[in-house]
């Protein structure tokens, strides 16, 4: 037998086995991508709506809020937010927003998804000082603008938070809403000065 016949038989045999193997090539990849995503997100720096509200009330000059919704949807944003629609995110007009290390950008859209994706892209591009607003605008609207009375039996912590939210809501909207009578005690004063609160994980 010459080499060609031998090699033909050998590769056909291997090929025959390969042909009946179940295709499983994508399992490992998907798992891997998910793992990467989780790892990246664990390192993500979040601001909760309460933290952001405090920083805004205290007038922290290093906070810049970026609203990622499309222009047509840019209504009733978080006060002071700058609207950067997704499609113009990487235009040169806005490059200065990310290519810097002075300001802290807090990104939000209606929910977490869009902002998270943008955060991942700009983080992978190497830009620092970008944060995510946990829960996005919907969380802001629910927790800050329409806080729900946690109930008399709630922990002191929850009650304190509720009071703060009421105060902040008043600060932003001017609406007065009397809290239930049994909660009538002095509100804790808004935080003064430039307090920069950091969430776990570190982005210097």
């Amino acid at each position: 037998m010459n080499t060609r016949v031998i090699i033909s038989i050998v590769i056909l045999a291997f090929g025959g086995v390969a042909a009946v193997l179940p295709g499983r090539q994508n399992d490992a990849i998907l798992l891997n991508e998910r793992q990467v995503l989780q790892e990246v997100l664990q390192k993500a720096n979040y601001f909760s709506v309460d933290e952001l509200a405090h920083l805004l009330v205290s007038g922290d000059p290093s906070i810049r809020v970026l609203d990622l919704r499309p222009v047509v949807d840019f209504k009733e944003p978080i006060p002071g937010a700058l609207n950067i629609p997704l499609d113009s995110l990487f235009s040169e007009n806005y490059a200065y927003l990310f290519d810097q290390d002075v300001m802290k950008n807090v990104l939000y859209s209606n929910d977490d998804q869009v902002a998270t994706r943008v955060w991942m892209i700009i983080t992978q591009l190497g830009y620092k000082n970008n944060y995510l607003l946990k829960g996005g605008l919907s969380e802001w609207n629910v927790s800050i603008l329409n806080p729900v009375y946690p109930g008399v039996t709630a922990s002191q912590e929850a009650l304190d938070r509720y009071q703060k939210r009421l105060a902040i809501r008043q600060y932003f909207t001017g609406t007065q809403m009397l809290p239930p009578a049994d909660l009538f005690k002095p509100l804790s004063p808004p935080i003064k000065g430039r307090k920069k609160k950091k969430v776990e994980g570190g982005c210097s």
Partner: protein
């Protein structure tokens, strides 16, 4: 689990050392196969020597089968392995120009390096020419940019495009190769040029 270097974050220096060793094997195999001779390579297109066909397909099939089996036994993560990105127009146009270069020049870049290493002057000329060609592309890039970037389909696999399993596609390639090997050896008899083959 492979690929070892990207998964384990191995240092640049070791990576380059491995690049050199892999290249060593590559060059050695090419030279042993006779790819350092332009007349042997060109024999492919006139039928008197089909070593290119045999080596090229045996190598591709060995690697294909290896990847399919390594993947099956979870020894390699094909998600990390680089899959060439597909741009329809540029792949075809580039291939046509390269094919023309092959029949005119008698080498391809890899084989020209290998042939230059053993002192083939035509290979050194080919190598010099390829620098000029790359420079020409770089200088005229704005003219081609549109077509170069057109119709991007990502790292698309033929098996996914056709909708069959990787293993089945490999079997198809093997069947085609076995047929081509047979035709190749027939052609070597039919179009044999002993006057050329004894020289190279």
């Amino acid at each position: 689990m492979g690929p070892i270097i990207p998964i384990n974050d191995i240092s640049m220096e070791i990576n380059f050392l491995i690049a050199f060793l892999v290249g060593l094997g590559f060059g050695f195999a090419l030279e042993q196969a006779g790819f350092s001779s332009s007349r042997k390579l060109a024999g492919m297109f006139y039928g008197y020597d089909t070593v290119v066909l045999k080596v090229f397909f045996t190598a591709a099939i060995t690697a294909m089968l290896g990847l399919v089996f390594l993947n099956y036994f979870e020894l390699i993560d094909l998600g990390v392995v680089y899959i060439n990105e597909y741009y329809i127009e540029s792949a075809i146009i580039g291939g046509v120009i390269m094919g023309l270069g092959f029949i005119v020049g008698g080498f391809c870049p890899g084989t020209s390096v290998c042939a230059a290493a053993i002192g083939k002057i035509d290979a050194i000329a080919f190598l010099g020419g390829s620098f000029l060609g790359i420079l020409a592309f770089g200088e005229t890039y704005p003219l081609w940019e549109n077509i170069y970037m057109k119709n991007y389909l990502g790292g698309l696999k033929l098996s996914d495009a056709v909708g069959i399993s990787d293993g089945l596609l490999v079997f198809g390639v093997i069947a085609a190769a076995v047929l081509m090997f047979w035709i190749g050896e027939w052609a070597e008899k039919r179009f044999g040029r002993p006057d050329i083959t004894k020289e190279i």
